[in-house]
Amino acid sequence: MGSYLRKHAGYLVFAVVVMTIPAYLSDAYYLSILAFMATKFMMAMGLSLLLGQAGQISLGQAGFVGIGAYGAAILTTKVGLDPWLAMLIAALLSATIAGLIGMPTLRLKGYYLAMATLGVNEIIYILIVQLKDLTNGTDGITGIPSLAIGGLDLGGPKAYHLVAWGVALLMLRFALNLSRSRVGRSLRALHRSEPAAQSLGVDTSYRKVQVFMLAAVFASIAGSFDAYYMNFVSPDSYTITFSIILITGVIIGGLGTVWGALWGTLAIVILPELLKRVNEDITNLVFGVLLIAIMVLWQGRSRGLWQTIRARRPGGSGGGAAPPGAEE
């Protein structure tokens, strides 16, 4: 028991802090920011596993978020399914689509998956706008029910906070365990050198498709949660621009561990709020410059913004030589 606590201290402290927030925070504005942070964190975690562990990049995560959101919206309002079941079906659909895209492209160089996912994101966006009978086009879908367990309504801000962050914490536990497991080690191995990993018996294509599907499922579930929280979906949230903002978050947070996704989520939630005071339109400019700067200054492969800056400072010790994902 004692060793378990020591081993997972970071996770446990984080879980307790997050889950007790509703006890002392009642401000609706901050609770709504935290609600959106929970789902962005889910999306970023999936992407962090894909990018940081397997070294593959998807520029279309917003498309899977869109499937999750619209799947939930359509299946609950038009088919009348239970919200949880709708979420599950949307996630399965996302996983299937990710598998279909991943199987041919993940055998090829990294930019093929990047372009294919950009294309899929674009197709999903076009379908959402064009399939008006199903999606109401640009008007969006209203009247999506809130989540409930039994007869217990989870639509209120505090109840929703507990459910959304509860699921996010489960995903975090899962992602952390995964990255320390045999699967995580084989993903990092294929990231370093694919031929070497293959020669040690790792089925690299299979592993890459697997983690890509997992990232799609995380994104899809996050999308469903957003739909149930806002009771409304519209196409604007599922563009390629949002996919790239998610990438920016994961890169700023650092790719070494899944925890990077948390810092990245904070960055993409807080930075726009700060930049709004100067000029709302410069947010993406700043994100673009950060992406270039981090890549240009990047020396290892596991560093986020903070460690990159530390490492560049004379005498700075940034990062150290610990293998990425080794620490929690």
Binding site: I57, P104, A116, D281, L285, I292
Partner: protein
């Protein structure tokens, strides 16, 4: 679909196909010199179009706008290469993708901050009066687009086949290390390839702006389609880029006729995915696709 309509769709397909061909050519030039896929390629086309519109707004004649846009985007590309590409040449595919995606964000947002969100257009180079051809109407701008594309492609062909520097660039595409041992300056080849890509992209942007309006956001779609065209033709193959561009343009135009204009933009990506499924080397891809 009547034969007149069919002809009309073919004309429109050849026009947009020219722009896809030039965009695909931009991908190919950079890819052959550096093995980098430039995810901001489409934004370079957009910058060309937007710069020309801005210069036209200052009262410059169209030919001066054209030259001005080409020069501006070339300069942007040279600076871009120096700041973001040169440090990344040895850093692996992932860093290159992320940095060029970042550049696409920078170009797009900069264009929005400078020129606003509205879509803008240019007057056609030689009037709007359509030329009747066998029951269909041919816009004079189409001739400009196709003619200029032909001139650029033929010019590139002779440059790469005949001139010494062109051969040096091709040598670097085959094997940068051996090319260096022959005394070829690899960094000069890379800068040159970027400048040339900038010029071609800007030309494509200026040519298409009178036909389809340009806005800060037009670049991402153009880039995706240019990449689809380059992949369709065989990534890294300049002839393939041109063929892929025209095939994609025509299929897309016919798709609008058969299916619906709303799905026009999805056609290119369906083709891209099909190519990646069935034949990742593309139509003319004699080269082995780089498997990891």
């Amino acid at each position: 679909m009547t034969s007149d309509q069919f002809l009309q769709y073919i004309f429109s397909g050849i026009t947009t196909g020219s722009v896809y061909a030039l965009t695909a050519m931009g991908f190919t030039l950079v890819f052959n010199a550096t093995q980098i896929i430039n995810f901001s390629q489409g934004q370079l086309v957009m910058l060309g179009g937007m710069t020309a519109v801005a210069l036209h707004g200052l009262g410059l004649p169209l030919w001066a706008c054209f030259i001005g846009a080409v020069v501006v985007v070339m300069v942007v590309c040279v600076i871009f290469e120096r700041i973001a590409i040169r440090p990344l040449l040895q850093k692996g595919v992932l860093a290159q993708i992320i940095a060029t995606v970042g550049a696409s964000f920078v170009f797009e947002t900069a264009a929005m901050l400078i020129w606003g969100r509205n879509a803008v257009g240019l007057p056609a180079f030689s009037g709007e009066k359509p030329i009747p051809v066998g029951g269909a109407a041919l816009a004079p701008q189409t001739l400009w687009v196709v003619g200029a594309t032909a001139v650029i492609v033929v010019g590139l062909f002779f440059f790469y086949r005949r001139s010494l520097f062109g051969k040096a660039v091709r040598a670097c595409a085959v094997d940068p290390t051996s090319a260096r041992l022959q005394g070829i300056s690899y960094s000069r080849v890379v800068v040159f390839s970027f400048a040339l890509t900038g010029a071609i992209s800007a030309a494509a942007g200026v040519l298409i702006t009178p036909i389809s309006f340009m806005s800060y956001h037009s670049g991402s779609l153009l880039g995706l389609k240019g990449f689809a065209a380059a992949t369709l033709g065989g990534l890294g193959n300049p002839v393939g880029a041109v063929v892929g561009g025209f095939v994609l343009g025509i299929v897309e135009a016919l798709g609008v006729g058969v299916i619906s204009a709303g799905y026009k933009d999805a056609i290119a990506f369906v083709i891209l995915l099909l190519v990646l499924f069935i034949r990742p080397a593309g139509i003319l891809g004699a080269r082995v696709v780089n498997r990891q």
